[in-house]
């Protein structure tokens, strides 16, 4: 789990969940925040164990921009790192990171 973010838009939950071990490779990463975010100014990096990006395009907004959806390339089993920087609609910036694992 990333450091506690006691700021404006912080991560409410993620799919795959923060620190989770999932059996099958997800096609996308969903990040849900406590407040709507400005999608244009949000950056999400998803990287594999070698630091190579596995995101398949820029994040798009869903659920009145309270959720960011990042399309993913086909993933193999292993541990992935997610690093996010978002700007909430009231202009405040927050960031965090977490890992998830795909079981062999």
């Amino acid at each position: 789990m990333g450091p506690p973010a006691f700021a404006h838009a912080f991560l409410e939950h993620a799919t795959p969940a923060v620190g989770s071990e999932v059996a099958s490779a997800p096609k996308e990463l969903d990040l849900s925040y406590t407040e709507p975010v400005e999608v244009l100014f949000c950056h999400v990096a998803v990287t594999d164990a070698h630091g190579a990006s596995v995101a398949d395009g820029k994040p798009v907004g869903r659920n009145s921009n309270q959720t960011l959806v990042v399309p993913l390339k086909p993933l193999t089993p292993g541990t992935y790192r997610v690093e996010w920087h978002v700007v909430s609609v009231d202009t405040h910036k927050t960031e965090g990171h977490f890992m998830f694992t795909i079981k062999p």
Binding site: M1, P3, P4, F6, A7, H8, A9, F10, H13, A14, T15, P16, A17, V18, G19, S20, E21, V22, A23, D30, T34, E35, P36, E38, L40, F41, S64, Q66, V87, S88, V89, D90, T91, H92, K93
Partner: protein, 631 residues
């Protein structure tokens, strides 16, 4: 960058409210005068223009620095590149551009007398957009903050922004006309103050949330500063109304009134700048408060002991009676002759002081010791990850004194003057997280004030200490559950990531609103059919995904879920198989079932009755062990 944002936001606000107040003054208050000298008209027109110009220039500067901040731009050219995106495609940019546009049109319209009212309406609309540019704009689903901001700002402008024009008028107008304008000002001012107060309280409830938030966060301190300035301006306004205006009417003395209005206007400026600062600060509800007092209010002591309760009630009654007598003497004492009223008043003061000195100390029974962290909440969300992390940290850091099973009988315990705390005792769950973390960080003295438990601040990261608290709570519950009893205080079901069929949930917490049946290794054959009747819906969750057929609707996706629930159940992980945990729709653990033990349920009918019963009797006002994550 942050300082520039605060500055330009504050200046923009100041210019806008000054413009709004000046136009409001010219439209609503000045016409009360019988004769308005042309120089005054010109000066007020200039004042409106200056306000609008400051608002527009500072507004553009604010847009620039906010763009640079949002886009993370390092240079001017990068900022200019990002400008169209922010101005056209973000809530902040669209709202600010719209506000500046409204102000520009309003500033042009107020040039002519017959379009001035339209200008005033546009300025009010520009101010009313405040919510979209501040914290309220991000409160998804809850529009009450937006509406309250939309009333707060125009009211502040009509009152505070009109003070400078009022000052100019009192200087220039004949005293009879000045008094007429002041009288017209009064009802509008009172209405504005009432609106400002009411909406301010609403916003504070939404963005501060609690007394610790007010006293223990920077945001709360700025609010206290703002409230202090507001109270000061209010006192000056009362002084103007009740005393100085009468002096103006009776003797033609305007100097006192002028000075008082000038000071009130200065307070107004400071209030508006503080508002800009507030809008750029992190709201108190998102921060961990630092409690400034060595005690906190608590009914713990008086609830436990009837004698203490009686003591406190008698004190409150006696002090209350003395205070009422004192107030009576102050308010009604003046009806008597001077000497009698003087002795009545001094007698009541003496009585109040004596009673307060005699009974006051007993009121400390209403308080308990508090620490700077007392009102801080755990950032872990009581997750199974955190419990298992704490379980791994416990043997090396805690077991030598508290013992491996937490009963306070570790090998080092014998050499200590006081027995280490029994971590399986009921009262452990009654302490808030914020007090447990204080003792873990700073240690705990023994009964004679000598250091007994060492502090771990610096030795272990804060995150590990929160995890130890989670482990101790879960382990404490386990000590009850292993004997077939429920824990002595309500306990949230530890949270873990899961995957569900047909339910939009990524963690256990997302399943709020459903009764939950959490299964440890129960396979499809032995799974009880789930009661699904009326408004009661029960979701079944396997602690770990079962190979082959999916027996439960959801299954855990964290390796820690099984181990943490074993701690909770007070057994070794290998012995957990067959256990079931029943969780109510608010996330509270309500029953645990072992296949071959008393308690729990043995038939589907019994399970259904139990689910119905916990849904019908929610836990209310639970405290202490509550692991709610506030945001």
């Amino acid at each position: 960058m942050q300082a520039a944002i605060v500055l330009f936001r504050g200046l923009q606000l100041l210019g806008m409210l000054s413009f709004l107040g000046t136009v409001g003054f010219r439209t609503l208050m000045l016409p009360a005068a019988s004769e308005i000298p042309a120089p005054l008209r010109r000066r007020l027109a200039w004042l409106a223009w200056i306000g609008a110009a400051v608002a527009l220039v500072a507004g553009c500067a604010w847009l620039m620095v906010e763009t640079a901040s949002m886009a993370g731009a390092a240079s001017l050219s990068e900022t200019v590149q990002a400008l169209p995106l922010v101005a056209g495609d973000t809530q902040f940019g669209e709202a600010l551009v719209a506000r500046l546009g409204l102000l520009l049109v309003a500033a042009i319209l107020v040039r002519w007398r017959h379009t001035m009212v339209v200008g005033l309406v546009l300025a009010i609309l520009a101010a009313a957009m405040q919510g979209l540019l501040a914290h309220a704009g991000a409160a998804e689903g809850d529009r009450s903050l937006l509406i309250s901001e939309a009333l707060h700002l125009p009211a502040a402008g009509l009152w505070l922004g009109a003070l400078l024009p009022l000052w100019l008028s009192v200087r220039v107008l004949a005293s009879s006309d000045a008094a007429l304008v002041c009288e017209r000002f009064t009802p509008i001012g009172i209405a504005c103050v009432l609106v400002i107060g009411a909406t301010g309280v609403l916003q504070a409830i939404g963005l501060v949330g609690s007394l610790p938030g007010l006293l223990g966060t920077p945001y709360g301190h700025i609010i206290l500063l703002k409230v202090g300035l507001f109270a000061g301006a209010l006192v000056l306004a009362l002084l103007n109304r009740l005393w100085l205006t009468d002096r103006l009417v009776a003797h033609g003395h305007a100097s006192g009134l002028r000075v008082s209005i000038a000071v009130e206007a200065t307070f107004g400026c400071l209030i508006i700048l503080a508002a800009g600062w507030l809008a750029s600060s992190v709201p108190a509800i998102h921060e961990q408060p630092v409690w400034p007092l060595p005690w906190r209010f608590s009914l713990e002591t008086v609830n436990e002991d009837a004698d203490f309760r009686r003591e406190v009630i008698v004190s409150l009654i006696l002090i209350g009676v003395a205070a009422v007598l004192f107030l009576n003497a102050v308010v009604f004492g003046g009806r008597f002759r001077r000497s009698i009223s003087w002795s009545l008043r001094s007698l009541s003061v003496v009585l109040l002081v004596v009673v307060a000195a005699w009974r006051g100390p007993s009121l400390s029974l209403l308080t308990v010791a508090a620490y700077p962290t007392s009102f801080q909440t755990s950032p872990t969300g009581f997750s199974t990850d955190s419990i298992v992390r704490g379980q791994h940290l416990y043997p090396a850091n805690c077991a030598s004194c508290h013992g491996l099973d937490g009963r306070g009988d570790g090998p080092a315990a014998a050499g200590l003057s006081d027995r280490p705390a029994d971590l399986t005792a009921a009262h452990v769950l009654a302490h808030p997280d914020g007090e447990l973390i204080w003792w873990l960080e700073h240690g705990m003295p023994d009964s004679e004030g000598r250091p007994a438990m060492p502090g771990f601040a610096g030795g272990l990261p804060e995150r590990d200490l929160w995890s130890l608290i989670d482990y101790v709570r879960a382990h404490n519950a386990g000590a009850s559950l292993v004997r077939g009893k429920m824990p002595p205080a309500p306990m949230q079901a530890p949270n873990f990531p899961l995957g569900c069929h047909g339910l939009p949930a990524a963690t256990l917490r997302d399943l709020r609103g459903h009764a939950l049946l959490i299964l440890a290794g129960v396979t499809a054959g032995t799974l009880p059919p789930m009661p699904r009747e009326g408004n009661v819906s029960t979701v079944t969750i396997a602690l770990r995904s079962v190979d082959g057929t999916q027996a439960a609707q959801c299954s855990g996706e964290s390796a820690t879920a099984w181990d943490a629930y074993a701690v909770l159940a007070g057994t070794a992980p290998a012995d957990l198989t067959g256990a079931m945990f029943l969780v109510d729709p608010n996330g509270w653990l309500r029953a645990v079932h072992w296949p071959d033990a008393p308690g729990g349920w043995h038939t589907d009918t019994e399970l259904l009755a139990l689910v119905r019963s916990i849904c019908a009797h929610p836990i209310s006002g639970a405290s202490g062990g509550e692991h709610e994550h506030h945001h």
